[in-house]
Subunit: 210 residues, 4 copies
């Protein structure tokens, strides 16, 4: 007998659909903050070049956001590749994760506009933290409720946890650095994220970033 | 022989696709109303913190919208998980549902800007009501036209109706409270929606919210 | 041996994916023109009610756009349900169709802002016409190139053509009415579209609208 | 035993999903720059016609962007139709490709606003170049890492490379022309892109554009 919203493979498929949708939009929205210089202010090649140069911080935070979205897209995918079915609570946890993904363009813009302010760095970090918390919670729930695919052993389960925790520790260190200097803090986070996105093969680095 | 737009499983798949698309966009658009404070107005950490604090009502209505979208995403999914095929009229009913989903960012912003006005609460409630009406109509049509999956019995059919009606009764009570106080009304609706989103296991609460 | 971009079922699947994406975004974007009244201008329930009432033409053109998108979503779907494989040219024709779908929010806003101007009605009609032209061309190409599914007979092929042509004739009549009165013209188009969206069972109406 | 983010067909499916999402949004966003003339400035049919005429360059760059997106959508699809599985690095390369797709609305607007400036042409060309570089890199990585589908022979692999390189050579020539005249440069690029989008059957042209 069929009941509404039972744990199912279809429910899992729909989570994947809405997740890819939100990521696609977030990836595109963060570009909207890179605004074309106004025509009135530009009268020569030189002025146009200068105006584009002035957009450099925007391109930097675009790259940073893009990296972050990439990392969490993989984070979500690493989990869902190991989950066979989804029930309503797992879906709700995933939607909470998406709610914080949808907030990333906001916290990134805030960071871009107030790069020298500790508050902006901390808000950005809080967003990263909540992404980690929701990912952790949804993995915990899936493992506990028997929604994982067959062939996912205890070690793999542990690896998924460890990756989340290690990344959060790195970002927490990065965020703490803002009490020394906000720019140093952003630089540290950026380097950490480059490390994750590049998925280096060096065994030494892999050990640190999980 | 193949005819255009016959009831089909593919038609059902496309409804799912466009539905997840609209929800993904709506989830992302409601964040756009949370605007980064202007750089000119901020000169210290303290001012930035105050400016972010002033965004609190925006974050609250974001949470409210997010909850609403979550609840209706599940509502649509609960139905479509039980529907095997879709014809043109069912698809049209589903698109009407999506039209009101697309209006949610508008009615939520209205509510956020005019939290103390009865009119804003009633417009928001009207949006919730129309979502319920279109969901009810599409379930009624699917059940009547033999588009349900095999193994969906009368009791399940009734459960789907009941969930919609019970939620609408709760929201109608919430909306009616705006004649006492608009804030009380919003609070009541928020609590009701939290109840749905959290899917509590308590049997007592489940009986009320269906 | 595999070659890039051969006619394939996967190519067809991707057209469906990008089509549903563009429609989902267009459905959501047309709502963005319904703007929440500014807080500064509103000081009483009465003023808020009046401000919302003043948005009525926006809601009307939203409904009109929504109907149009619905009709063309079904038009595209009616075709693609009968198409088994897609090659690059068919995909290009479909993207041209999507380019005019993406222009609909523009021509609808123009219509909403200049409801009494013939030019606005004609631009809107031109958009509808181009949607018909691209749909016609892609059906023609698919039929000619053997990309249709098995079991699609000559009569079905003709029905698809006829539906497109009949709708275009109705809209052309509607557009021509703008030389009598732009409002009459919009009214006529709105009624024609309601007829299509409602898919009436009356045999008499079905004969006219195909 | 299942491990997170192993090369898989599912990973490939998700790349397709997010790619179609980003393209759908980019296709729709480039239209947003075509703004409806303000109601205050228009008092007659004649003025409205003139205002719409003044939007002509916007429609032109819309067509140009649309062509570009079409070409790269096919470029990505040509590759992914030949790729059987995807691992994390291939996905990252694809996301880098999407990052430059997401930048296209920016560089196109810049071009539309500063059509007579060499800098704008070069920025636009740089965007095209980076799209080619990321496509080339991801094909190179997929071929090298054994992620291609069975039945993809050396000649097909070479054809995919050649198409990318030939297109980039044409665009580089186009970009170089901006030192003669920016408009000539844009015209050349537009013609080259029309050639790709139209997929002419003439053997002579096919040889040039690959």
């Amino acid at each position: 007998m069929k009941r509404p919203l039972e744990p199912s493979a279809e429910g899992r498929g729909r989570i994947v659909g809405i997740t890819d949708g939100v990521f696609a939009i977030a990836l595109t929205l963060i570009v909207l903050e890179i605004r074309v210089p106004s025509q009135e202010a530009i009268h020569s090649e030189h002025e146009l070049l200068a105006a584009i140069g002035a957009l450099a911080p925007r391109f930097l935070t675009y790259a940073l956001s893009f990296l972050t979205l990439t990392i969490f897209w993989f984070g979500q995918q690493a989990q869902h590749g190991l989950i066979a079915r989804s029930d309503r609570r797992l879906a709700t946890l995933n939607l909470c994760f998406l709610a914080f993904i949808a907030l990333l363009p906001f916290s990134t813009d805030l960071l871009a506009d107030f790069l020298h302010f500790r508050t902006a760095v901390l808000v950005y970090w809080l967003n990263l933290l909540m992404l980690g918390v929701t990912l952790f919670a949804s993995w915990h729930y899936a493992a506990k409720s028997g929604l994982l695919a067959e062939g996912v052993d205890a070690e793999t389960t542990r690896t998924v946890y460890l990756r989340i925790v290690k990344a959060q520790i790195l970002w927490a260190i990065g965020a703490a650095l803002c009490f020394v200097s906000p720019l140093l803090s952003v630089g540290f986070i950026l380097v950490a994220q480059l490390g994750y996105a590049a998925t280096p093969s060096s065994r030494w680095i892999r050990k640190i970033i999980g």
